[in-house]
Subunit: 273 residues, 2 copies
């Protein structure tokens, strides 16, 4: 095993989505839109086995499935300052980072689309996400027009610059929501995507995301309050799917008095450092 | 006209390509592969009209076509340290940068795919390039699997990190080559792409690019010598299509005694700063 380069994958907050299951995990996925964050996940390999998250042994099924798919044994070291399980796409980012690092260390000779496909399929099969892998692979403000890995999906992006703020109040169980009843959620997600395609701006993204969270009945009291506070302070905020997390454009959250994290929009998609 | 943000578009050197003309400029394009450079083109708008390149009035047809398509009048200020007309995709980058800046300044509300499509079509119609716009929009080490703007084309990328060096001995006339007889060139380009898809690594990219330049009979004596010098010094170099330009991985050119420019691979595609 050669010296491992570090893979960086941006965090990704989804503002709205619709779930599109399929028996083929490379066709399954989500439509929707969100923001790739300069705060992200770093992944490197070491000799050994298992997964380590910020220094602690853990299990991330999507990561383990990536290593199985690439037929390697290694210890996957994941480091991130992002909240885990709170809508930042950490499991998908860890899976994609593991795919990039493994490809480099073990000379697997796979293309970026192939690695994204493996990580996306692993995340779908683990039931922990439907769109964060393809979004984190792209960077920017990704719009998922069609679900699935690169061979099946289609993406666009919203031109944007500047910073994003976020604050997290806790976890939501992604798996329960995306594998449960999704008819209302899907209808709300389709409406939000139609609005965003009609006018692909960050303003529309935030407005469509707020409407989605209301219509899909995903707002928690703390999230609702924070979004209203940002709005009252003249800013734009929305809920990150799926976490008890609020993200805002610019300095929207700190302007409203919240102790928020701030970072840039990540222009680059996942890559080796 | 609001204050103009600056658009940045990476330079792009193509190692090999095949030309695919079509009456529809959004379907026309090229297959091929290259490297997006952290050295790029900055574009902003000012009041007035015309195009300015590094402080001097000039004409860049692709840029003028972008402004026409977006129905605006403005002075387009283009700045770059890259050699012009020498295989760095400066005209396509200027066109894409103009599209991004115009969309922001005049609130056109277009998506990234829409802006790429406009710039790609303008570049094709101007006859100055076939693939630099979609490559510069993506960043990284882009592989153009299918020709055309986002709705028709398909792309992949080669996982890579590190630096690139380049040296330019002068211009080649892009327009004459890509609008002239291209059967040999297309056959050579198809062979190179097949090799790269089989093994998508930077090593294969460079090797396939060298074979392409030989088979398509595009090598000039100075380019041939520089590539051989880099090879003799243990490095990997190839010719940038279409310029009298050589690019190398890592420090290949300076290791061979050339006074080369050095920059990173640009992980991010075109974006507003």
């Amino acid at each position: 095993m050669s010296q491992s380069p570090t893979a960086f994958v941006p965090g990704h907050v989804t503002g709205f989505f619709s779930a599109h299951p399929d028996e083929d995990p490379t066709k399954a996925g989500s439509r929707g839109a969100g923001v790739a964050l300069a705060d992200g996940v770093e992944v490197r390999l070491e000799a050994g086995d298992g997964v380590e998250l910020n220094g602690n042994p853990t299990g991330i099924e999507a990561v383990e499935r990536v290593l199985d798919a690439l037929r390697v044994t290694a210890r996957v070291v994941v480091e991130t300052d992002l909240p885990v399980g709170a809508g930042f796409g950490v499991s998908g980012a860890a899976a994609l980072g593991a795919a990039l690092a493994t490809n480099a260390v073990f000379d697997r000779g796979l293309s970026e689309n192939e690695l994204v496909t493996i990580a996306h399929g692993a995340e779908v099969q683990a039931g922990t996400g439907l769109g964060d892998v393809v979004a984190g692979a792209r960077g920017g403000v990704p719009v998922r027009l069609e679900p699935g890995a690169p061979a099946h999906g289609a993406m666009d992006g919203i031109p944007a610059r500047g910073t994003v703020e976020y604050v997290s109040f806790g976890e939501l169980r992604t798996e329960e929501i995306i594998t449960g009843e999704t008819a209302e959620l899907t209808a709300a997600g389709r409406g939000a995507l139609a609005a965003l395609v009609e006018e692909p701006t960050t303003g529309t993204l935030m407005e469509a995301s707020r409407r989605f969270a209301r219509e899909a009945e995903l707002l928690t009291p703390r999230v609702k309050e924070a979004i209203e506070d940002v709005s009252a302070a003249g800013g734009e905020a929305a809920m990150a799917m799926l976490g008890e997390t609020v993200f805002a454009l610019g300095t929207g959250l700190s302007d409203a008095g919240y102790d928020a994290e701030r970072c840039g929009i990540c222009r680059a998609g996942a890559h080796l450092r």
